[in-house]
Subunit: 310 residues, 2 copies
Amino acid sequence: MSEAVQFWPDPPTTGAEPLQAWMPRILQRVECALGALLPSVEVFPCALHEAMRYATLGGGKRLRALLCHAAGELVDADPRLLDGAASAIEMIHAYSLVHDDLPAMDNDLLRRGQPTVHVRYGEATAILVGDGLQAQAFVVIGELSGSAEQKLALLHELAHASSSLGMVGGQAIDLASVGLSLPREELERMHRMKTGALLRAAVLMGAHCGVSPIEPGLHHALDDYQRALGLAFQVVDDVLDVTTDAATLGKTPGKDAQDHKPTYVSLLGLDAARALAGQLGERARDALAPLGARAAHLHGLADMVVHRVY
Amino acid sequence: MSEAVQFWPDPPTTGAEPLQAWMPRILQRVECALGALLPSVEVFPCALHEAMRYATLGGGKRLRALLCHAAGELVDADPRLLDGAASAIEMIHAYSLVHDDLPAMDNDLLRRGQPTVHVRYGEATAILVGDGLQAQAFVVIGELSGSAEQKLALLHELAHASSSLGMVGGQAIDLASVGLSLPREELERMHRMKTGALLRAAVLMGAHCGVSPIEPGLHHALDDYQRALGLAFQVVDDVLDVTTDAATLGKTPGKDAQDHKPTYVSLLGLDAARALAGQLGERARDALAPLGARAAHLHGLADMVVHRVY
């Protein structure tokens, strides 16, 4: 993997909208949808809604929303349906960060360059913000414009990914593994649940927004893609945690080592972890090969995950 | 309202199964369904699943599950569908208790006569238990045996009731009202959200388990019923908090006064609060009058709410 990092990967060489134009356009759509799908600060109880909006809006890479849109384009999904599905996923992601940052969990003070929700609004409100965001995600799924079958497919993916067999289970293992040296297989299983499950849901939910059920070949390609991408995301996270300063990262760096958590860097060393991220990026791109040029945005997102600097 | 309390109300005088037989039968069904719909302790991560089961199984009045079943009987709903819907509601209720008991919230040590989840398993696990139970409730809704329309109606009710416009919003107001003397109207609004929303969802979800959409007359009657019942439940809760010992209550009594929270007893005095509970019980029964004898179990549950001793 090249040492040179760039936030904007090379433009895809296909007829698709270049990533540099596509990404800000999608980000703007999603931000707008999120703002509309969260209760306004003028809705009672106002203080809670202000905190829920603080936790969700105005920051974050929105990788899950971008993956959902990029996968949805493969099946010509209605972009408004993708906006709703992407917003629900981002609400789940935002809630998980609010709860993970709590003093009883990772005790983080900084997130997206801002004070974490419990620092800003107090611990009780932070717990309720997370609880309310999770419920709101399912409110949003229930109110989407799609068919009943589409909505139920989206509910299935999102609920399973958020459950104790997915994201919440992964966080439980993460907390239980503090101070342990997990074997690589266990570390992978933890990350497949903690971050991988929701990244997988983002990709599959995008594809579920098409009018037909997901065709098996596409499902297979997307599944291979998300598996490599999810792992690459985590390996890069571990690398950035030891190589990047707080201002760039937007959160407290060095936390994992400080908390004696097992990481790919502690397991493999920095250089091997970097090399692994590059290989996983290759694997994600290979998985997309059968889909041809129409997967250009998923391709670009894989590059972005591997080459990201925060 | 009579001073004499009895847990089992008088049997209904209709042809319906007597409440004394119906209630334990339904409770057994629901306990069995909950056990099957929660991940087993043998499923990874085992410790989290053990704690999720501890939080949910083997205790509680299951009022919401009983309301769901009793309302479902009015529309000849499939009992297995009602078991699933009732289990999802009880999972949401159980999660809300786990989070409400946390040190940053009500800091309760005792629940259903047992150590609260954070006392037994630690605070981080308790946060994740609540998060996982909420997600599991929506997993269950997605996997019910009903039609797509039924499942989406159930999703709508449960997600809205759990949201910041329902239960979570009510808890936020409750926390913000510590030390304040709320006007009665504000106190009612808080309870309508904090406990009323999920009781309402339980009643309406039962009715949604029928094969047809809820008929307007039935919806109207059930809505009047749940409004009176939900308020009666809270007024009795406030009365029991000052009149009952910990062993009977299964949780720490006197907490509200100690926490300087507004209650119906602090607002109206004990006798007037008792009288109000009786009036609300009457109102709940009146709401059922148009439904005739087939509402006997809902009738009995209203009596139980007013006359309960824990």
